[in-house]
Symmetry: C2
Subunit: 205 residues, 2 copies
């Protein structure tokens, strides 16, 4: 059950009415509350209260809280894959690795709640929903693994284990969201450049 499709369907029927904004608002509130308090601690009643609707009205948009969580994680992964695909990648493996590094940092910097939930609330997905999210995550990681393998084959990179290197690089880049602040001493582009310097050297390029 995909909440977004339910929401979009409803929006299509009621264009111009108040409910246009209710679907996105539910998603936005749920994302913020799940990130701040954790999925298990946030009730549908609480989400409804924050949105400013009756608890019953929430069920016009989403069949249950699990569907809401799944939808947030699912659309995050689909949006990530779409944005990554639009960004495109050409050039040598080194060029493509630089593009991936900068893309990953800048994309996630704007979405700290999404990335927090994407990792933290995996434990609260049903096994079926978990499998779907893991497959999408695998697709994203495969892009990086592909670049690393291409670099090794082309003799640009020296890597003991491209699969482990994929995980190591993604963990390293994800960490930016835990400390970076826009009002701090570094611009995001400076941060990207520092990380790219480390990633490039780490793969032996």
């Amino acid at each position: 059950m995909n909440v977004r499709s339910v929401i979009d369907g409803d929006m299509a029927r009621t264009t111009g009415s108040h409910s246009d904004i209710t679907g996105p608002r539910i998603r936005e509130v749920a994302l913020r509350l799940f990130a701040a308090e954790g999925y298990a601690a946030v009730s549908m009643r609480k989400i409804a209260a924050e949105v400013g609707v009756q608890a019953g009205a929430l069920y016009n948009y989403t069949p249950d809280k699990q569907s809401l969580l799944f939808d947030l994680m699912h659309s995050h992964m689909e949006d990530l894959l779409a944005a990554r695909s639009e960004a495109g990648t050409t050039g040598t493996p080194t060029d493509r690795l630089e593009a991936f590094t900068r893309f990953h940092i800048s994309y996630h910097e704007e979405r700290p709640h999404e990335i927090f939930i994407a990792y933290m609330e995996l434990r609260n997905l049903t096994p079926e929903n978990f499998a779907v999210i893991e497959e999408l995550r695998g697709k994203y990681e495969d892009e990086l693994s592909g670049i690393l393998r291409a670099g090794v084959e082309a003799g640009e990179f020296t890597l003991v284990d491209p699969r482990v290197a994929t995980r190591a690089i993604i963990s390293m880049l994800n960490g930016v969201t835990t400390w970076y602040r826009r009002e701090g001493r570094l611009t995001l582009t400076e941060v990207e450049t520092i990380y790219w310097d480390m990633v490039r050297k780490a793969v032996g390029a």
Copy 2:
């Protein structure tokens, strides 16, 4: 209010009695439940039920749930700093960086719940407790920053920004706990060696 001191005090008074094991058991159960379900979703009643005592009995050991969370995070950081200090570090900055890398991976691999909570439940600490934990975390990170700065000064490392590099390396190493399984294709020592290869190259050593 430090729960451990309350527990230890109680244990000292009742050596040999049943309550010897109640304190450690409460901590163990709380750690597991917080990691599985999240701090906000786990009630004192639930912890008591899992331990097999009345909810009221829990308050002989800990004044409240916040103190229990703080104690788990605080003792994790103190144990980490003590273990790190025992491991000692001598040799060149490169030797010390290798020792830090291997120590961090192997220490945390045995404590996935602790590291999960150490990051995830920061949001649920009171500001006073948060400040204490952040200071200890800063102490640990300073050890790595110190090694990196010494390496740059000695001309062994080339790093644009040792402070950012500290965070990048710690994020990278923390990631091991999210994917490593003992029954998988790699031993922990092999994983340490792969990560050390990447860390060494990332700092330009």
